[in-house]
Amino acid sequence: MSAVPPEAAINVRQLWKYYGDFPALRNIELNIAPGTCLALLGRNGSGKTTLLRIMAGLMRPQKGDVRIFGNDPRHSAARDAIGLLGHGIGVYDELSAEENLRLFARMYGLANPNEVAAQWLKRTALDHVARSLVREFSRGMRQRLAVARAFLHAPKALLLDEPFTALDDRAIALLQSLLAGALKGGATIIMSTHQLREAMELATHVALLNRGKLLFHGERPVEMIQDPTWLYRTYGEG
């Protein structure tokens, strides 16, 4: 139990997660420095979603632990610091865009929920439909609202699970620009994805999972810009 490196945004130590007797994560060690964007890669079933959910405090591991800026993921300080964007958009269909954002602002205990909501509606170009119910939104609008929801409380750590799946080129570009903005603002980003090309536009680091084991973690190899599957071929067939 060495001390947490003071510079780590997210620190994962000797993490094991079992589903029954099946080890989905095996002894993961991971230090993520603040301000990096980590692309979490791995084949289907390698444990990416599991790892992200444990980091987000949605699940507990059997062994090992995770620190978000030095805190347990279930500690309220850690949860204030986390922004989560999973497969679903995480907003309510039967509330309006504005109501959704205010609700989450209030849940995060922000001082001025209404202002923050208005501000993010503007930033995601949804202010003209602020009062429409989310049910009536198109896929792109929903995705933007989901991003607003996740970014609302200025999280220092963003966790994204396959954020580009089933999005069209425009929606991907929008998400990338918002993520780039957050990164510039000092946030730490971790995203899992199979769409390597899209991920490589942002990623400063990559990590490769294979059947629950961490095979590679480090700065993005230059080879991957030209050839995104380079990593798989080099480390992945273990």
Partner: protein, 228 residues
């Protein structure tokens, strides 16, 4: 080695039950009011005590699981509940046979009887909940929570004769009545039967635990193989 101990314990339990049966049938006099049939009490009451104990232990194991997150507690809990429901069934059936002979009907909605039935349903739904969850870890967690809630029905069943006026007879054992209602010889046989049934329970639970652990390991290995 463990096998042998288990089988040995099983044989001891069987022999003990046989010996008790001999005493019950030939050693004890008929009861004044009910005649020969009262002898069913020697299995009725110990069955209930056995299943209550099993449920109690399962509840304890569930709390331990939630605390330690070790699947062996969950394995114990499910094994104990399974064996417990068997004895609940024995208690229900012996009770119903007794009721048929003494009261002339198989069932009546008396609080004690009703709560005994509810207890059975609650633990049966525990077993059903387990089948509905695929991931063993989630399954363990959720069924542990249910197991803790479920114990309430056991307590109500136990206390039912004190809380309501029931058709079902009240307490007979001296630790509840303060003594004097029952021939000590009979009471001792009741305790002996209970002890023998508990021994049997221990054997059954151990066997079930082995099966459960094994099938979980096999499932884990299979998933691992499929994940390639």
């Amino acid at each position: 080695m463990r096998e042998k101990i288990l089988y040995g314990m099983g044989i001891v339990a069987g022999l003990w039950l046989l010996r008790n049966l001999y005493v019950i049938l030939l050693g004890l006099p008929d009861e004044a009011l009910q005649g020969a049939i009262y002898r069913i009490l020697f299995f009725h009451l110990p069955s209930w005590f056995t299943c209550f104990t099993a449920y109690f232990l399962a509840g304890g194991a569930s709390i331990l699981y939630l605390w330690k997150k070790d699947l062996k507690y969950d394995t114990f809990a499910v094994s104990a509940v399974e064996v417990g429901t068997v004895f609940t069934m024995v208690g229900l059936v012996t009770g119903m046979i007794w009721a048929r002979i003494i009261w002339g009907i198989w069932w009546t909605w008396d609080p004690r009887l009703t709560w005994a039935l509810i207890t059975y349903i609650v633990y049966a739904s525990y077993l059903m909940l387990r089948r509905a969850v695929d991931d063993p870890t989630t399954r363990a967690r959720h069924s542990a929570v249910l197991c803790i809630f479920a114990f309430a029905s056991v307590m109500i069943t136990y206390k039912a004769i004190d809380w309501w006026r029931t058709q079902h007879p009240g307490a007979v054992l001296s630790f509840r009545t303060g003594g004097g209602t029952m021939d000590p010889r009979m009471e001792s046989i009741i305790y002996q039967n209970w002890a023998a049934l508990m021994l049997l329970t221990a054997v059954l639970v151990a066997i079930r635990m082995r099966q459960e652990t094994m099938s979980r390991e096999i499932e884990g290995m299979r998933r691992f193989a499929h994940a390639i």
